[in-house]
């Protein structure tokens, strides 16, 4: 099984530790991972802002980099979702179809493809999960509170096996944090209010750490937490799963 690692543009530049944790974790799980060096971005920032046509170059570049892999794995639910859902704007060649079918968010890949739940991590803290929307309602990484059906969650499956980790439960377990890409800027007031409310829910529920499958949501929440000097730490789920403190 040949796996290509996709590290989203802003994780590459601003949160390299998330990329490193992802790579190390996959290697620990004996996955044969390669990191193609020509990668940039999945194209989502332009597309979600209404400029899909400006993202064609990024889409083609993505497919070029990953067309020879059996799976593409990324520590970002929203990028995986974007490739799956919005890559219709480029011609649907066999390569494009393959890449779209085989792109996976990290937790999804570990639980549903590798069929592993215990990654031998140790992390003795109270963890609040922020279920990032694109992973949740786009990729169905877990059951959604609006829908009627059995409850499940790849993220919780993994965290439940982490030694010492305690999962706290939130009052609103899958409400959006208010990031939303350029929404965070164009609708600044609402975005900030949503983020503040989300943080309050975590604090009220006794979380010490907020984690998520998407660093973008965490960047927004961390920005508020730091500005308001609140007692919460923010970590991408790969960092927790790769931890052995």
């Amino acid at each position: 099984m040949k796996v290509g690692l996709f590290i989203p543009c802003y994780i590459n530049q601003l949160y390299p530790q998330v990329g490193i944790a992802t790579l190390e974790l996959l290697e620990k799980l004996n996955v044969n991972v390669a990191y193609p060096s020509g990668q940039t971005c999945c194209g989502q920032p332009m597309a979600n802002s209404g400029y899909e046509y400006e993202s064609v170059g990024a889409c083609n570049n993505f497919v070029d980099n990953f067309k020879d892999f059996d799976y593409v794995v990324t520590p970002s639910g929203s990028c995986a979702y974007h490739v799956k859902k919005h890559y219709d704007i480029i011609p649907q060649t066999e390569d494009v179809i393959n890449v779209r079918n085989n792109v996976y968010e990290l937790c999804d890949f570990i639980v549903n493809i590798l069929k592993v739940k215990n990654v031998n991590a140790k992390f003795p803290y109270k963890i609040g999960i922020h279920k990032s929307c694109h992973g949740l309602r786009g990729l169905r990484l877990g059951s959604c509170s609006e829908l009627v059906g059995p409850s499940f969650s790849s993220i919780e499956d993994l965290l439940n096996e982490v030694e010492g980790a305690q999962l706290i439960s939130l009052a609103r377990k899958d409400e959006c944090c208010g990031f939303g890409g350029t929404f965070a800027v164009t609708e600044e007031a609402i975005s900030v209010k949503m983020g503040k409310d989300k943080i309050k829910d975590h604090l009220d529920s006794g979380a010490e750490v907020i984690t998520a499958t998407d660093t973008s949501c965490l960047m927004h929440l961390e920005g508020l937490i730091n500005r308001n000097k609140q007692p919460l730490k923010v970590l991408h789920i790969a960092e927790i799963l790769n931890s052995s403190i």
Partner: protein
């Protein structure tokens, strides 16, 4: 004013925002409890979706069938291409019956057509009889929610409004007292009305009948007391058969308020002896929306309001910030179809979290349609120069890995080295209330290259 500006004004009063958010979340929560108790809820949604899709694909035939049957039942049927025609038709019927006093039950369609000011201009008194609607009418406002029209008003505000207009005593916002007074006031209006106007929740092609749902019984009071009943409906309210009603009535009440069934689901079919019944069937942009393959499913909407209650943006920005008759997620996909320029900010008033699509009882892919409107809006309406150029530049940078690396380096350097005052200055809206990440010295690419070099 665009949505974002209006929303930031609404957000100045954080306590009120919290209250608004909690009130609507309470309804969403009630909805959850109610739907989780129904076995087969998801199949019911599938049925609802399927019936609507089928009806819209055969709408012409079903409309003809409905008209034929309604006529047979002794109902007069009128057709209006737009809001103006609708208003004129209603006005004409009222004139014909010399009706000066009208009681109206809740109808978003008449709001959409601005019927009240049209009739009032000719000296006709129009009283909205749904309590929430009456409240916003007294306040000279429009509804801010389709099911809970006065949800933006606190009970203290209602108290003051009633004192001013109905002469009530100050009660500190005592709901029991206030509803009692409203009841007395409305009762007088019902008894003296010359005509009643109602909306239509479902019209049945097979029978020519229609159903109106209310929790206060005000549609019934109006229609049963007045000699003339005018029902106004959009063309999309049609369902093929009586047996389909069971699906929609079960979906509607639970999604709207978490009730198993609306308190009054009133079936109307023919006028009682001596009385008159009219139906006005309105297009007003609906066939145009029907002709847009990407957006036609927006016409499935049964106006339950669940997407508003679940929407974290709507809950925190209030309905009026949408500046449209139908606010919230569904409004944001319907409104651009009517006036793309006026409503161009609405499809962007979303994080595309997708909660609206999952909560929608008839499975409208609301968030996907928001995404699609965005693509159209950037092409067909004027866009800010900065946004346009920055997107173009980003597109170029992301197409070329070498450029991406160079720009990334500059960005990280700036985050590390520029003073906070510069970084968080005006053009950086992000930094108003949020810190930016501190730029690391090394990107993932740099780290990976180094590791590779070390391995060799």
């Amino acid at each position: 004013m665009n949505h974002s500006k209006a929303a930031s004004i609404f957000n100045k009063d954080e306590k009120k925002v919290d209250w608004h958010d909690k009130a609507l979340w309470f309804v969403r929560h009630k909805r959850d409890k109610a739907v989780h108790a129904v076995e087969g809820w998801e199949s019911l949604r599938n049925y609802g979706h399927g019936i609507k899709a089928h009806t819209l694909s055969n709408l012409d035939n079903y409309l003809i069938q409905f008209e034929e049957n309604a006529l047979k039942n002794g109902v007069q049927v009128h057709w209006a291409a737009n809001g103006d025609e609708h208003n004129k038709i209603v006005h004409g019927i009222l004139k014909e019956h010399n009706a000066k006093k009208v009681v109206k039950s809740k109808s978003m369609l008449t709001e959409e057509c601005h019927l009240n000011p049209f009739l009032e201009a000719d000296g006709i008194e129009v009283i909205d009889t749904d309590l929430g609607e009456r409240i916003v009418q007294l306040a000279k406002e429009s509804p801010s929610h389709i099911v809970l029209p006065a949800i933006h008003k606190t009970k203290e505000e209602v108290d003051e409004l009633f004192q001013e207009h109905l002469g009530t005593k100050p009660s500190g916002g005592d709901p029991q007292y206030l509803t009692g007074e409203a009841r007395k006031h409305l009762r007088k209006k019902f008894i003296s009305a010359d005509a009643a106007i109602t909306g239509v929740n479902f019209a049945i092609a097979e029978t020519g009948g229609f159903v109106v749902c209310t929790n206060e019984g005000n549609a019934d009071m109006g229609a049963h007391l007045a000699p003339v009943h005018i029902a106004c409906m959009g063309i999309e309210k049609l369902i093929p058969k009586q047996e389909h009603l069971g699906v929609f009535l079960r979906l509607l009440a639970r999604s709207a308020t978490g009730q198993p069934i609306t308190t009054y689901s009133s079936h109307f079919k023919k006028p009682v002896n001596g009385n008159k019944m009219h139906i006005v069937i309105v297009d007003n942009g609906r066939t145009e929306q029907l002709s847009r393959p990407d957006f036609r499913a927006s016409l499935h909407c049964i106006r339950c309001g669940a997407c508003m209650n679940t929407c974290p943006i709507y809950r925190r920005s209030g309905g009026h910030s949408y500046d449209a008759t139908i606010p919230g997620p569904i409004g944001s996909i319907l409104s651009p179809g009517k006036d793309l320029t006026k409503h161009s900010s609405l499809p962007f008033a979303s994080t595309l979290c997708g909660s609206c699509s999952d909560v929608c009882p008839v499975k409208i892919d609301i968030h996907s349609q928001l995404y699609k409107w965005r693509q159209i809006i950037t092409k067909e309406t004027p866009q800010p120069f900065v946004k346009k150029t920055s997107m173009k530049m980003m597109g170029k940078v992301f197409a070329k890995p070498m450029q991406f690396e160079r720009i990334g380096k500059v960005a990280r350097w700036s985050l590390r080295n520029l003073p906070k005052g510069v970084i968080n200055s005006k053009p950086n809206v992000w930094g108003k209330e949020r810190d930016l990440p501190s730029g690391p010295t090394e990107s993932f690419d740099d780290w990976y290259k180094k590791r590779k070099d070390n391995e060799q």
